[in-house]
Symmetry: C2
């Protein structure tokens, strides 16, 4: 991903009683997001949490979803009108309230 791009990270914290269906996420949710955001979404990547920094510790996040856009403005234009549809799909694969971070790719 190129320097200067906008990265939107959607991080799903682990915790007592928290569940995350990675199959649904990969096969249904990500394709839904890709369809709704169209060309504005330059790339999407997904990671599954394996562990934390200390040996044997739990991963802070069950999953991390990353979306790349040309700018914050392009992200807003594409995501804004689809926020409701995207959020409505969350209960289909998780009971976690995600942490969202908007970043600039600097290296």
């Amino acid at each position: 991903m190129k320097v200067g791009m906008t990265k939107v990270s959607v991080l799903y914290p682990t915790g007592e009683g928290k569940t995350f269906n990675m199959d649904y996420y990969l096969n249904n949710h990500i394709p839904l997001v890709e369809e709704l955001l169209g060309d504005a979404l330059k790339a999407a990547t997904v990671e599954k949490g394996l562990g934390g920094g200390a040996p044997g510790s739990t991963a802070p996040y069950a999953a991390m979803g990353n979306m790349y856009f040309d700018s914050v403005k392009e992200f807003g234009k594409a995501f804004g009108p689809n926020t409701e549809k995207i959020m409505a799909d969350l209960p289909n694969f998780t009971n976690i309230e995600p942490v969202v971070q908007i970043s600039e790719v600097v290296a």
Copy 2:
């Protein structure tokens, strides 16, 4: 980054009194990590936090550093003997204790 790779995320949480020197991080810390880890480190990317999910909110993380390895084993082999040297450089650019996540790239 290819599916199956190991991604190690080093996340620097924002907060009252927390500081992060992005110039030092990009120009000194990342090159140090690259030199110490050598060929085991397949790629490193960096993002600077711009904001959170809610309009006008603070980014959860001041910076996110991402390192990619062929496997968890390769990461451990490369990082283990260099952990002390890498950690000793942190006070040179931040007073934040980072959150570390080890993940598998799944998409």
